[in-house]
Subunit: 390 residues, 2 copies
């Protein structure tokens, strides 16, 4: 493997935007048995690793997000997606902790994915990119930490697909995890969630500009299909109550129905905007691969069908969190994780936050969540002897 760690560009306050490159005949051996001969992991860090290397926090991102957790995304110009949670004086205090977030394998924000060049052909991978799993994402993250000289994570945290990665970390690298926070997630993807993902994939594949996955070579983008996929998914990220409160049946820029197929309702206009803006920042094939990885996720199946079996060696402190109005990853799924952790005699706490905002609540301003998560990570850090600040 190559030893190069290239710092690409300095970013706004505290952010270090970087890449790690791994090369060699079997740079990353995947769960499918296939290999990625070359792997780039694009990541961002905030704060400084302490001398004891004991203050590292790995943030795992969700399906449509990326490594730009708390600083502007240099590609999209959008602010960091967890600005509320990560920064000086925040839950993940960048003065105390060294925060790392890597774009997942199969992604499109710098880490190797289907839009990148297949070294065997000199062309974009497209559908020749191997199907990846949550386990593969975590293996790549572990390789990055090895490269950075970080043996142990003070905390690994993430919501939704990020939470699946947290669970995978707990199962695969228990000795490297001091504490873990799987948020708004599940130990396996449900039939309903697979169904919604399949609708999105079919929408993309139905777009003639998808070109069997080969759209880059044809100089087109399956933007309509990807927009429809995003619209369908976006509904699942919000609660019915949130949609009602934000939009209800309010009309968009008009007093009366158009009696046509314009976006009469604000909620239609909002969804169309969500679809359009997603196309500008996300790769359609990455969407196929990452949703597939989530669908394949079933931690119990990987451990003889018993979820507790995944946590047999776990010594970490774990805080499992869910949200009352999340119907995509409902509290019942979090409780299954808690029951398995209890069965494995793990050190686990569980909290369900009352919100009406739905699945995306973990990205929003929920003061009780900040207080709980802040207390949890701060206590883990104290216990580990990480120096306090401020």
């Amino acid at each position: 493997m190559s030893e190069a760690v290239a710092v690409l560009a300095p970013a706004p306050p505290l952010a270090n935007v970087a890449e790690a490159r791994f090369a060699g005949p079997r740079a990353l051996t995947l769960d499918s048995g296939q290999v990625l001969p070359e792997l780039t992991v694009a990541y961002t860090t905030y704060g400084e690793l302490n001398a004891a290397r004991s203050n590292a926090v790995l943030v795992c991102h969700a399906l449509s997000l990326d490594q730009h957790v708390a600083s502007d995304n240099p590609v999209t110009g959008r602010p960091g997606w967890w600005d509320l949670m990560v920064g000086p004086g925040k839950v993940f205090d960048t003065r105390r902790f060294f925060i790392i977030c890597a774009n997942v394998v199969g992604g499109c924000m710098g880490t190797t994915g289907p839009k990148d060049i297949n070294p065997a052909t000199g062309q974009s991978y497209g559908l020749s990119f191997p199907v990846i799993t949550i386990g593969d994402m975590v293996k790549a993250e572990a390789m990055l930490l090895d490269r950075l000289g970080i043996a142990e994570l003070l905390c690994v945290v993430g919501g939704s697909m990020g939470g699946m990665q947290v669970l995978e970390w707990m199962a695969t690298y228990p000795e490297r995890v001091v504490s873990a926070m799987p948020i708004a997630t599940a130990a396996k993807h449900s039939a309903q969630n697979i169904a919604f993902h399949e609708v999105g994939r079919q929408a993309i594949m139905a777009d003639p500009d998808w070109c069997g996955g080969d759209y880059q070579r044809h100089g087109v983008v399956p933007s309509k299909g990807l927009a429809v996929a995003r619209m369908a998914a976006h509904i699942t990220y919000l609660s019915e109550a949130a949609l009602q409160r934000k939009f209800g049946r309010t009309l968009q820029d008009r007093q009366h129905f158009s009696y046509a197929f314009d976006a009469d309702f604000q909620v239609e206009s909002y969804l169309r905007h969500q679809g359009r803006s997603f196309v500008e920042r996300f790769d359609a094939n990455s969407y196929l691969y990452i949703t597939r990885a989530m669908d394949y996720f079933d931690l119990a199946a990987d451990h003889g069908g018993v979820l507790a079996g995944a946590f047999g060696k776990l010594k970490s402190r774990v805080c499992v969190a869910s949200f009352t109005s999340d119907w995509l990853f409902p509290t019942a799924e979090s409780k299954k994780i808690v029951h398995a952790l209890n069965a494995a005699a793990a050190n686990v706490s569980f909290v369900e936050f009352a919100t009406d905002t739905g699945h995306d609540a973990f990205l929003l301003d929920v003061p009780e969540m900040f207080a709980t998560f802040g207390g949890f990570v701060s206590s883990a850090a104290d216990h580990r002897g990480v120096k306090r600040v401020g």
Copy 2:
């Protein structure tokens, strides 16, 4: 208006498949202010109208259904969609009642809709078909009943969009309704439901074979877009529990993941089949128009913003029904209808059936539902002096 009622063909046991044609410069004046100069209403009847004309039951169909309630659909070959409910000795006993169901305006099973010829141009309407409402559907049904010489309905019944029509009947023609059963429905379409419909419409419109609505003239069908729309909608018709029970994470015809984008999971295969089979029986533009009609439905808004105002003149007996696992038209929506009926001092009963099957429960074998509905309609018939049978 023409007086022609053409009986097209005798159909299997008890079914009379027919059309009523209405012509004239303003055959049907729509809520939008536009007019349909020619209107065909395709309908099916079961049983016989009694001499007192007091035993007529109008069944109103849902979005993707049609007038073939209890007999094979001659176009698709599928059995009647409410075979369990309508027939000799069933809840709607065809030996006692005269059952009528008409394909809705804007539909594609014989009643005038966007795939039909616009007499002004000699071409298919396509998007030149006027946007219709639930109120327009009910006006066309009332015209049909006038033509059949039926002044009064012993019962008007329907689930989902059919229930919206029932509510509209109660509000617009209260003097014609002896009893009414709005099932699994709402007095207005929610933001979440509008959002799901908008995804479906965008999926259709994203298909290049939609041709701006003009696909018939181009000899193509937007089958991929319509299939995606149906797949997304179909998820909303089932509960999470039903999907879990029916499919879970079971693989389709294989022992291991394909590590590809085939339909690995049964739920994917099932959804793809739902999409494909829908395309064979439904017109994409009809889907746009009918979903739009549902989105526009807001009975309170039509009555000064107070739902009870819609029911001020109502003397009918009403049975409102919902299902515990229906998240598309949840019980809370039915309760709003019940509260408004109570506020209007109407004669209303309410029942919530415990099922785990989701919105489509009203089409399924729910014995408690049959018993309740059977008792309700039988009691209404006894009270109205309709002769008993058997």
